[in-house]
């Protein structure tokens, strides 16, 4: 990546940070129907990951914690915000919500309310890319907790067996809700597991910009070129609660949580970029995020007729045929 690319990554990651903070504020103001799982701490990793991808040829599936991924793949921020806020004009007119962001047009196939549920779907996107010869790859992003789900293991094995171009991504923030990854994940490490499944696998520090660049570029290229699956485990801190507003009583106060965005800023400045330049980008990112979320807040909620379209379409009892 060029120095300019990296500055854009900085701004984009800060945009996601600011977006999440705006969503948090909107939630506090009662504007959000449900609980939101913010990606605070993973913005840099997600931006770097998606910078390697080329939607809609490439398709990403994500977990319950996917606001950042949808944005990083280029989904329209106002539409994403509107979906999270349950507004008409949301990606899916507010029918899906925070855990169900879909922007397949941009290469973000879907996020998911079921821990691990998105992973087999990515194998499907990979199968399409392979069968249709698009040159695309699929990326299944999940948490450390999800990496213990049966469907996830099955998909890793399936991807090796069928030789599918899927990149499995574990965002290891150390927690599945309140449970430590060290407790929940038996064995040596997710990487050792992945290798035993036959996947090429690497681990990366989600705050180490050079490591991110190197590792993600290499693995994405490897999956694309060989058509074979790989896995990357990224350590990212969970800077907030499991969901916004969670008390986190189970967490000890003096746990260190270095912020990847701060580490990146230090790095940029060490590389000779000006602090003022960084600041300007952060301010711009914040303003844009605020604008998108504010515009979304101003949108109306969907009319109940939105639902009626679906209850008619899906009605089990029909006079006349369906197809």
């Amino acid at each position: 990546m060029t120095p300019d690319d990296l500055k854009q990554v900085f701004e984009r990651a800060h945009f996601i940070r600011a977006f999440e903070q705006e969503i948090a504020a909107a939630a506090d103001a009662g504007e959000v129907p449900g609980l939101v799982h913010l990606c605070l701490g993973a913005e840099l990793f997600e931006t770097m990951l998606c910078a390697q991808l080329d939607g809609p040829r490439d398709q990403v599936t994500g977990s319950h914690r996917s606001h950042g991924l949808a944005l990083a793949m280029g989904a329209d921020a106002e539409q994403v915000a509107a979906e999270i806020l349950g507004r008409a004009g949301g990606l899916s007119e507010g029918l899906g919500g925070t855990q169900h962001l879909l922007a397949p047009e941009r290469g973000f196939l879907t996020s998911n309310g079921i821990v691990g549920g998105q992973v087999p779907l990515a194998a499907g996107a990979a199968l399409s890319a392979k069968t249709l010869g698009t040159g695309g790859i699929a990326v299944a992003v999940m948490g450390d907790g999800a990496s213990n789900q049966g469907a996830v293991f099955e998909t890793m094995n399936l991807a090796v067996s069928l030789k599918l171009p899927v990149l499995f991504v574990i965002e290891n923030n150390g927690f599945g809700q309140s449970t430590s990854a060290l407790y929940a994940t038996g064995g040596i490490s997710p990487i050792a597991r992945a290798r035993a499944f036959g996947l090429a696998a690497s681990t990366v520090d989600g705050g180490d910009i050079s490591g991110l660049e190197r590792t993600l570029e290499r693995l994405v290229a490897w999956v694309r070129e060989t058509g074979s699956p790989a896995l990357v485990e990224a350590s990212v801190p969970r800077l907030g609660g499991h969901y916004h507003g969670e008390a986190e009583t189970y967490r000890s106060a003096n746990e260190a949580r270095p912020d990847p965005l701060d580490r990146f800023e230090d790095w940029l400045i060490r590389q000779g970029n000006s602090a003022e330049g960084c600041h300007r980008r952060k301010v711009r990112a914040r303003e844009q995020a605020r604008g998108a979320v504010e515009r979304a807040i101003a949108l109306p909620e969907p009319a109940p007729e939105t639902l009626e379209v679906w209850s008619t379409r899906l009605s089990p009892v029909r006079a006349g045929g369906a197809a």
Partner: protein, 334 residues
């Protein structure tokens, strides 16, 4: 009589059960909480129902699990076959899907397949219900799905006394029980007897007495229907409101006794509009007690779609008191 919430009644019932019987274990995600961490304090379950249990009974009997529902539901099933009485928490019933084989083929069939030699004293506690903006995969009401799985009992409590009592009775049964706790009712308070006595499985409860119309409601539809019954009384429509409490086994006698008075049946259920509990009940009555019905029976359920997220749509999706009143009035005119 004390007043307490459903959340607290369940918590106390769990304390009672664990104190009385060392073979009772509790299994689930984050039910003690903070597993593998030092320095923090207990979580006690995402809904707080299991709080304090780990401190009292230890992490050997209050077992936090990785996120792998198939494995731990199956583990509980195997444990029930071999001398333990497991209470499993499945955080949301929407997650039944990932554990469905272990429930449908393993837990439900084991007694039959053993010719009755195996007993399965176990409860799967799970949550149900829309109304809190949780979206399509954290809001379903899938109690009706399990009707179609012979070998299970299914409880849907709507009061603190019933929640605690059904939980206790469930661990005394030989069949596995799945208990659906409505998220929206955890804070609902009500009177309970001192010792939280068991409530027999298969005995419904007459919530409100009247002779104009029979309303059968489950879960969060019970308080909604109670409110409707009050409004309807003001309009001269006297409601016999029945909460079956367990939908399997179903106390059909209580319902037919009521229909003998009223001849009018309205079933209000948050489950599916087609093939769910409401249809099962309507069909059962029509097939066996057709002549009790003066007019066509009516069901009030959500439309046949996934649960929508936006408040407006979710509000239109869940049956509400006003809708119950309207349906009852229409049924009275029929």
């Amino acid at each position: 009589m004390r007043e307490m919430s459903i959340r607290d009644a369940l918590n106390e019932a769990l304390f009672d059960l664990m104190a009385a019987d060392p073979t009772v274990v509790v299994i689930g995600e984050d039910i003690a909480g903070g597993a593998g961490l030092a320095g923090g304090s207990e979580l006690g379950g995402v809904f707080g129902v299991t709080r304090g249990l780990a401190a009292e009974f230890g992490k050997g009997r209050v077992i936090d699990t990785p996120i792998s529902e198939a494995a731990f539901v199956g583990m509980a099933t195997g444990a029930a076959m071999t001398g333990l009485k497991p209470v499993v928490e499945l955080m949301f019933c929407d997650f039944l899907g990932v554990a469905f084989d272990q429930i449908m083929n393993q837990a439900a069939k084991a007694r039959f397949l053993s010719g009755g030699r195996l007993k399965l004293p176990m409860v799967i506690r799970t949550t149900m219900g829309a109304g809190d903006g949780s979206g399509a995969m954290h809001s379903q009401s899938l109690h009706g799905l399990l009707l179609q799985v012979p070998g299970l009992y299914i409880a849907c409590p709507s009061t603190p006394a019933d929640a605690a009592g059904l939980l206790k009775a469930a661990l005394m049964a030989d069949e596995p029980v799945v208990m659906f706790e409505h998220k929206g009712l955890y804070g609902r308070t009500g009177p309970v007897q001192d010792k939280l006595p068991p409530v027999p499985l298969g005995k419904g409860r007459l919530v409100h007495e009247g002779d104009s119309i029979t309303i059968v409601a489950t879960g969060a539809m019970v308080p909604a229907a109670e409110a409707a019954a009050t409004s309807l009384t003001a309009e001269g429509v006297l409601v016999d409101l029945i909460d079956p409490r367990t939908i399997v086994p179903l106390d059909i006698e209580l319902i037919t006794d009521s229909l003998r008075k009223t001849g009018r049946l309205l079933v209000v259920d948050e489950g599916t509009a087609f093939g769910g509990f409401a249809d099962a009940l309507v069909s059962t009555i029509c097939r066996h007690d057709f002549c009790l019905l003066k007019v066509a029976p009516v069901t009030l359920t959500p439309p046949h779609t996934p649960v929508p997220y936006a408040r407006t749509c979710e509000g239109a999706w869940v049956p509400h008191t006003a809708g119950i009143v309207a349906a009852a009035l229409e049924l009275m005119e029929a």
